[in-house]
């Protein structure tokens, strides 16, 4: 589906957000599903979690880590991009009884933004705990939007320049919230630490270098407790017990 860039701008140091629109798109993404974007001049598409969506548009939040994402950050409104939207299986909000905690790090905040909105709309209590390196890495406007969707947002920074000094698990200890389910997206060591620190059930969003993104090439298969699973199609969201940490 062809989308048009409607806005694209910096949200924090090294972090950008882009809104893409298409009249054919109906805002059908669930938190954790991803958009697979073909950038002119690159052979493979780039996967990005859909961080928000509505009738005719979707949003991505991305970090500039390589040539493709750097080029993306320079794209002007009006640029047309070929996007496969709503790929993969998202987070399951029904797994939460009353209260959920979302643990995000770096670009991992992206799918959690949409998830926070879904959970809050379903009447669940939502606390989002996000980890960053420094205060300048925090996309403040995005944090505010997540708050206004009905979630409490707590921050941890490695250098202590904002919120709790340390990891998301340190912020959890400090604030001691009560919850019955959790969700996480971010660096593997972070998700692993959350798994160790928290006993109740949870879901994690995994990353893999992808070929097709649609489940036909087996380029992204990880070994799980249930056997080989494709991150792009069977995931990217998996139950915590299924991941072989």
């Amino acid at each position: 589906m062809i989308f048009t860039v409607t806005s694209n701008g910096q949200a924090a140091s090294g972090t950008f957000r882009m809104v893409l629109s298409s009249p054919e798109y109906h805002g059908s993404a669930r938190g954790g599903q991803f958009a697979y974007i073909l950038l002119p001049g690159y052979y493979l598409r780039r996967p990005f979690a859909i961080s928000d969506c509505g009738e005719g548009w979707l949003e991505i939040i991305y970090c500039t880590v390589g040539n493709g994402t750097r080029e993306l950050s320079g794209m002007a409104p009006g640029t047309r991009l070929d996007v496969l939207a709503d790929l993969g299986h998202g987070f399951d909000i029904r797994a939460t009884k009353d209260a959920a905690v979302l643990f995000g790090g770096g670009a991992g905040i992206a799918p959690l933004k949409l998830l926070a909105r879904e959970l809050a709309a379903a009447g669940k209590k939502v606390t989002a705990i996000f980890g960053f390196n420094r205060a300048v890495d925090i996309p403040e406007a995005i944090m505010d939007e997540i708050r206004s969707s009905g979630a409490e947002v707590l921050i941890a920074t490695m250098d202590g320049s904002a919120g709790t000094k340390g990891f998301v698990t340190d912020a959890l200890r400090e604030h001691g919230c009560s919850f019955d389910y959790w969700y996480s997206c971010g660096p593997l060591p972070m998700m692993k630490a959350v798994c160790k620190a928290v006993d109740c059930g949870g879901q994690v969003s995994m990353e893999a270098r992808m070929g097709c993104g649609t489940g036909i090439c087996y380029g992204c298969s990880i070994m799980t407790a249930k056997g080989a699973r494709r991150v792009c199609k069977d995931g990217p969201v998996f139950d915590r017990e299924d991941i072989i940490w």
């Binding site: 097709c212 036909i216 380029g219 298969s221």
Partner: protein
């Protein structure tokens, strides 16, 4: 609604059109849920081995300037599960040519797999991959020597009854014509070419190879002229039919590959960029043929 202008007969198997998704880029067929598979002339299924295989660790995919490297490493459920579940499930919804792609690490493994596949009525063509570059001490050795490729060919031909055997050749050789001829002499009913070219990428950040297996197979648009050259050389030197493969991304590429000598044309990596690639290529063939004054695709096979 079959357009006879597009139909071809490949080693006795009649196909509505020459377009076939290449092995490894279309799963076992049913993974593709974006269009009715019956538009496809045939489907070459993911490479299958005697035992189930998980394949290589991640990362298995690396980007290249106009293609990709892969070291998936033949992830598959093993020949018995393949025949018991994958093939019948596909046959339930698909009427075109089903091509089983067989890989092996020894002569015996090829023979066992092909013997079992031969007994499966739902399979129309057996494609023997002697060229997969991904597995240590495996496929590579067979496809890079005329003698070994001929040995595999005659061994599997002895056990396959009632359906054509295509040998899928590796481009990582000095003289592909010599190997193609050796397979033809050993009784191959057809040849598929080319498989991937051996390549490598290194991460500038980690200073280590990007792929878990260090090397991987190069495919995609960038290899198209290599594939056209090899198909042309082989098709002109052999009299058995050729399925052309490598970098095909458009109806024009299909036509060029057929002019080089291919009777059917496989589309691989392009399915990874555009899941509708095969369907769109088939749909645009008639218009492209009109533009080029081609009445029927069979008229152009090997004209170059």
């Amino acid at each position: 609604m079959v357009n006879e202008r597009l139909s071809v007969t490949l080693a006795g198997v009649k196909m509505d059109n020459p377009v076939v998704p290449a092995s490894g880029t279309f799963g076992f067929g049913l993974e593709m849920d974006r269009y009715d598979l019956n538009v496809l002339g045939g489907i070459s299924l993911k490479g299958t081995t005697l035992e189930p295989r998980y394949g290589n660790p991640l990362p298995r995919i690396a980007e290249t300037p106009s293609g990709l490297l892969n070291c998936v490493g033949l992830q598959n459920p093993g020949i018995d599960a393949f025949l018991a579940t994958k093939v019948p499930a596909l046959r339930k919804v698909y009427g075109g040519a089903i091509i089983a792609n067989i890989s092996g690490f020894s002569l015996e493994e090829y023979v066992k797999c092909c013997e079992r596949a031969s007994a499966c009525g739902d399979i129309d063509i057996i494609e023997v991959n002697v060229s997969c570059p991904n597995v240590h001490g495996g496929g590579m050795a067979f496809g890079t020597s005329a003698k070994a490729a001929a040995e595999v060919t005659s061994a599997v031909k002895k056990v396959v009854k009632g359906k054509p055997v295509f040998i899928k050749l590796s481009p990582n050789v000095t003289d592909i014509v010599e190997i193609a001829k050796a397979c033809e002499d050993a009784g191959a009913d057809g040849l598929t070419l080319i498989n991937t070219l051996l390549g490598m990428r290194i991460s500038l950040a980690t200073r280590k190879p990007l792929l878990s297996n260090r090397t991987g197979g190069l495919s995609g648009r960038g290899i198209f002229p290599v594939a056209v050259r090899m198909v042309w050389q082989v098709a002109h030197a052999c009299s058995i039919p050729v399925m052309g493969c490598g970098g095909v991304a458009s109806a024009q590429d299909v036509i060029e590959m057929m002019m080089a000598g291919a009777t059917a044309v496989q589309v691989g990596s392009e399915n990874l960029r555009n899941p509708l690639a095969c369907k769109e290529i088939i749909e645009s063939l008639p218009e492209e043929m009109d533009r080029l004054g081609i009445g029927s695709l069979t008229d152009i096979i090997g004209v170059a």
